[in-house]
């Protein structure tokens, strides 16, 4: 996993334009949040299917990614890291100050396991 390079990510995302994609989207402040510090707020969607039309990477780390789909939008803020070692998928993450993952946006042309 490495820090996101904006230009490279834009290039990678553009290869998915006009393709059907599977999305894993997740935001979480942790299962213990309600117990340790206030309230839990988390959710995930796994293998949502969408047709990606176009999209952009914006901001300076942390980055925002907005993807226009045939029926709507995908939006994520707070992304700092990318892991491109996993098959052909794009795995994007943001971490909190303690190093815990707090946002994930993953897109792939095949369903996640």
């Amino acid at each position: 996993m490495i820090e996101i390079n904006k230009d490279q990510l834009q290039e990678s995302l553009s290869q998915y334009f006009n393709h059907e994609i599977y999305v894993h989207f997740e935001m979480t402040n942790g299962a213990y949040a309600a117990y340790r510090h206030g309230k839990a707020a988390s959710g995930y969607v796994r293998n949502a299917k969408a047709k990606m039309m176009e999209g952009k990477v914006t901001g300076e780390s942390p980055f925002r990614v907005g993807l226009k789909t045939s029926d709507g939008w995908l939006y994520a803020d707070g992304l700092t890291h990318i892991d491109q070692t996993f098959n052909e998928a794009i795995l994007l993450y943001g971490f909190d100050d303690d190093g815990k993952m707090q946002i994930a946006l993953q897109i792939s042309t095949t369903p996640f396991e």
């Binding site: 997740e26 892991d83 795995l91 190093g99």
Partner: protein, 224 residues
């Protein structure tokens, strides 16, 4: 009859934090056979390591290997993975989980089962696991039921269910337990997080939560 201790926990590392020393105690003093059942592989954990050594997709594979390493260090004889997905246990029908666990218990016939105390274990998967184990054992003929030791982890547990009746000071096995904890490499941040939490709750010894393994013997008459 040979003593057989079966650990039933939802996520890799629950078994180590809860019962690594207890397992050694049973092995050393009762020559027990020990099995460990993990319902999930902790697929949805937020700890990827620092720096990250996992991602959302590789995490289950990494945590499975970490669990196998930790169980080897703990001297566990058999590992059984049930294939559920992290964070989903509370949404399964309790009867589905309980029936599955009953099959496992009846096949392997443990004399003692160790799991979480339902309702006092913070994480929804912990509570769902404890609840399903209690339901499973309820379905058994009284004479065939294993002893059920449950671990409660909320700070106010004693206000609800009194003091734990089983307390092991696992000091003789502390180094082994720490080694087993370290085997869960991707989860290293969790040790600091738990220690911080225990100190916040008033603990004076930062290692007490590792050194003392406490359990409440679950009576089937207890309402959950």
């Amino acid at each position: 009859m040979t003593e057989h201790v079966m650990l039933i926990f939802p996520h890799p590392d629950d078994e180590t934090f809860s019962a690594a020393g207890t397992v050694q105690h049973y092995k050393q003093t009762k020559d027990a056979y020990v099995s460990a059942v993990s319902l999930t592989l902790g697929e949805m954990g937020r700890n990827f390591g620092m720096p990250p050594i996992a991602n959302r997709e590789t995490l289950p594979h990494i945590r499975k290997k970490e669990l196998e390493d930790a169980l080897t260090i703990m001297g566990v004889d058999r590992f059984i993975h049930l294939g559920y997905r992290d964070k989903t246990l509370e949404f399964e029908r309790t009867s589905t989980l309980a029936t599955h666990l009953l099959e496992v218990i009846e096949e392997h016939r443990p004399t003692t089962v160790i799991t979480f105390y339902p309702g006092l274990s913070i994480h929804p998967d912990h509570d769902a696991t404890g609840e399903a184990v209690v339901e499973a054992i309820k379905m058994m003929d009284c004479s065939k039921r294993p002893t059920l030791l449950t671990k409660a982890i909320t700070a106010d547990a004693e206000q609800h269910i009194g003091e734990p009746d089983v307390v092991y000071d696992i000091s003789p096995y502390l180094e082994m337990k720490k080694e087993a904890i370290r085997a869960h490499r991707s989860q290293a941040l969790e040790v600091d997080a738990i220690t911080k939490q225990k100190l916040k709750e008033g603990a004076t010894d930062p290692e007490a939560w590792i050194r003392y393994e406490t359990f409440w013997t679950f009576k089937q008459s207890e309402e959950v």
